[in-house]
């Protein structure tokens, strides 16, 4: 690890050795500041656990779409790590691929891609995610936006055809209607969306990206991450609640031939992968309780708004990126520290 410029930790606490007479050779002890205990958590452990949690959904995607899906995931993870390494070398910083955050970024971007995505789109996507999304801001912890989502948003805008799931997956025949549910809803209304039963959607019988169709697997992974404390349940659950309530209101109060019910929105598109893997990304989400709830709920609201009355088929990338921008402001809502003296009060 390189130390920060001008930062010499030894200057801070000058424990100078005492001159003591009758010196005998003695052990060299480590001097450090308290606390001398640590709970043992590590960034790499956290990221490995995120990968483990993503496995069910990813394996399901691979079992459905075969080798191309595996190729997408492998290329996304590999290229993301290569970009990170190149950036580390270019900037003369210590190698940070060991913390597995680049691998997670790649994995998540891969999960959002259709199995048929060409290799150059994937490589470009991970380039955007790592370089533009993260490294130019200073690397891990400094990204204001969610890197995989930033890349996804740019790709969706730039290469519409690649993300037209109906077109991309038309050669697949896996035993269910190979039509992208959100696309059907957008262009043909709830009558077309009604072809998909909630159970089928939940079990992944729908067209979509490699790692975002298997509702059961994503929820299992999400619960795993929540109980192990690797993601913040407040954000995930409030997002799902936001999607559910907004969709329900549209469905009840609005035109029910045009606006699908809440369960349809929960189990289609990127909703679940966003709730458990994208939205709770540490650096781009708030840390205080109320802001976390607002952040999740507003992202859910925006998602359904964009899906129902916006121009895009799925609102997830844009709603979350918008909320990422609001994150610093939201996180100002915080409890008063105990003992704080409030002036002008």
């Amino acid at each position: 690890m390189s130390s920060k410029k001008g930062f010499i930790p030894h200057d801070l606490f000058p424990w100078k050795p005492a001159k003591v007479s009758g010196k005998a050779p003695q052990e060299k002890l480590i001097v450090a500041h308290a606390p001398h205990w640590h709970d043992g958590s590590k960034i790499s452990t956290k990221n490995y656990n995120i990968m483990i949690a993503a496995l069910p959904a990813v394996l399901f995607g691979i079992s459905q779409y075969g080798a191309p899906a595996l190729g997408v995931i492998a290329l996304a993870m590999g290229s993301a790590m290569v970009w990170e390494l190149i950036m580390n070398l270019a900037m003369g910083k210590p190698w940070s691929i060991g913390d597995a955050s680049a691998a997670v970024t790649g994995l998540l971007l891969g999960m959002l891609m259709p199995a048929t995505a060409p290799w150059w789109v994937i490589a470009l996507g991970t380039f955007i995610a790592i370089m533009v999304g993260k490294q130019i801001f200073g690397g891990i912890g400094f990204n204001p936006l969610n890197p995989p989502l930033l890349a996804l948003a740019m790709l969706v805008i730039s290469f519409k055809g690649v993300f037209d799931f109906d077109e991309a997956l038309r050669h697949y025949d896996i035993g269910f209607a190979m039509a992208y549910p959100l696309g059907q809803l957008k262009y043909f209304g709830t009558a077309a969306a009604g072809k998909f039963s909630v159970g089928d959607l939940f079990m992944g019988k729908q067209a979509g990206a490699v790692g975002s169709t298997f509702g059961l697997g994503l929820i299992a992974g999400g619960i795993y991450l929540m109980v192990r404390g690797y993601i913040r349940w407040e954000i995930s659950l409030s997002f799902l609640a936001g999607v559910f309530v907004t969709a329900l209101l549209f469905n009840i109060l609005g035109d029910s031939t045009k606006y699908a019910g809440p369960f349809f929105h929960l189990f289609t598109g990127y909703t679940l992968v966003a709730a458990f893997f994208l939205l709770p990304e540490d650096s781009s989400s708030p840390a205080n309780f109320l802001p976390m709830l607002l952040f999740g709920a507003l992202a859910g609201l925006l998602t359904v708004l964009i899906r129902n009355i916006g121009a895009y088929v799925d609102g997830v990338p844009f709603s979350i990126l918008l909320m990422n921008l609001a994150n610093p402001l939201l996180d100002k809502i915080r409890p008063k520290a105990i003992g704080k003296v409030v002036e002008n009060a």
Partner: protein
């Protein structure tokens, strides 16, 4: 070391050790090392010389009227006086006294319990009591809290005193009432010591056994229902804290006419084996560890105090200080290592902070050395220094160290400003 629970959703619970073992009496060491603080305004006397003979209980000071002093814990001759720089640059003199093996008591201490006597003899008593607040006309102390719970994890020195020396504490309470005129004296103890503590004559309150509920600020909030304002000390809020051992020392001194020169220390070995020993203040750590069969290796840590707030010593030749409640020896493999990784904003510190400081933002300002902003915007002064933020930090940032550094730098700025006025 207590690790993160598998179910990370649950907050980590660090419990104080409340099972008190017996105390093993250590023999008088062959030498003691006492740290005499140098007065801050630079006035240095030369009252002490190598070769001076000193008696047990004798007050040693650089000049006769000097406010800083140590109490010799053995009878013998001064064999060395060396400069020593302590935590945060505190300049001290390390006085080594070779013990003659026999105790010849100094008799300048009188049994009359006055504040003067306390200021003159008990600032160096075991448990490090401070009586300066009582003499300070700007502070009005209305309550004294005797902390019968140890402040850090693993340690049981003060709990031992409450369990076994309640009569001495009672003597201390009476003397304290007489010398300060403060009537409201509260003793805080863990649940299992309430019975014993009721014999001390102080108002007994129990504290929760979960860290950090025994830190003074937390006791103020939870037990006294009084919040200490940011940047204030507990004394500013009208409360003085003393630990149980200091009270017992006060009690024995006014009963027997001899100040206590021993300290109870909880020694925790690398295998987690805990021993309580009573030893002379100033006993080299090496002697204490040897007596407990603990042998540190290269790159181990010897922590004076507990694992959350203690200071790692650089040498086994340092002496037991009056405030050293414990000596914890930690294997390198079990020690917390810090990194210079950036904060990833996971929010663990925000959720564990007992005083609700937005640590995620605070640490960004501290890392960038924006200390004044850290104080004004992100509640640096509210910190009660429990160390839990560093304990849970996934990036392993030395947050606690940054906080201490920030406070120190701000204090330097204040001193400079005061000097310019």
């Amino acid at each position: 070391m207590i690790k993160r629970s598998f179910w990370g959703l649950a907050k980590p619970r660090l419990n104080y050790s409340v099972t008190v073992g017996a105390v093993e009496e250590l023999p008088v060491p062959s030498k003691v090392i006492l740290l005499l603080k140098e007065p801050q305004n630079g006035g240095r006397g030369n009252g002490l010389k190598v070769g001076d003979s000193v008696k047990t209980g004798q007050r040693l000071s650089a000049s006769p009227e000097g406010a800083e002093y140590v109490i010799s814990s053995v009878t013998g001759t001064i064999s060395d006086i060396a400069p020593y720089v302590g935590m945060l640059g505190q300049k001290c003199k390390a006085i080594t006294i070779d013990a003659s093996g026999q105790d010849d008591w100094d008799d300048s201490f009188s049994k009359e319990p006055t504040l003067d006597a306390a200021l003159k003899f008990f600032e160096y008593a075991p448990g490090n009591p401070s009586f300066k607040a009582f003499a300070d006309p700007e502070k009005s102390i209305g309550t004294i809290v005797i902390n019968g719970m140890d402040q850090d994890l693993l340690l049981t020195a003060n709990q031992y005193v409450v369990q076994n020396e309640a009569a001495d504490i009672k003597g201390g309470v009476d003397a304290l009432k007489k010398m300060t005129g403060v009537d409201r004296i509260v003793i805080t103890v863990p649940e299992n010591l309430v019975q014993q503590a009721s014999n001390t004559g102080a108002d007994v309150r129990s504290v929760n056994a979960t860290y950090p509920s025994s830190l003074p600020h937390m006791i103020m909030k939870d037990v006294l229902g009084q919040v200490v304002l940011a940047g204030d000390t507990v004394e500013d809020a009208g409360v003085a804290f003393m630990c149980a051992e200091a009270m017992a020392a006060l009690g024995t001194a006014f009963q027997t006419g001899r100040p206590r020169v021993t300290k109870i220390v909880t020694v925790v070995g690398k295998d987690g084996k805990t021993t309580n020993v009573r030893t002379r203040i100033g006993t080299p750590l090496k002697d204490v560890l040897q007596a407990c069969n603990v042998s540190p290796n290269d790159r181990d840590r010897i922590i004076m105090g507990g694992p959350m707030t203690g200071a790692a010593a650089h040498s086994e030749e340092l002496g037991v200080e009056p405030g050293t409640d414990g000596i914890v020896v930690q294997d390198e493999a079990n020690s917390a290592q810090v990194t210079d990784y950036p904060c990833i904003n996971c929010g663990e510190c925000v959720r564990i902070c007992p005083v609700k400081i937005p640590v995620n933002m605070l640490v960004r300002f501290l890392e960038g050395r924006f200390y004044e902003d850290a104080r004004a915007l992100y509640d640096l002064d509210c910190c009660i220094e429990c160390g839990l933020c560093s304990y849970v930090c996934i990036s392993r940032i030395p947050i606690f160290q940054y906080i201490k550094l920030g406070k120190y730098e701000l204090s330097l700025i204040e001193i400079a400003e005061a000097a310019n006025e």
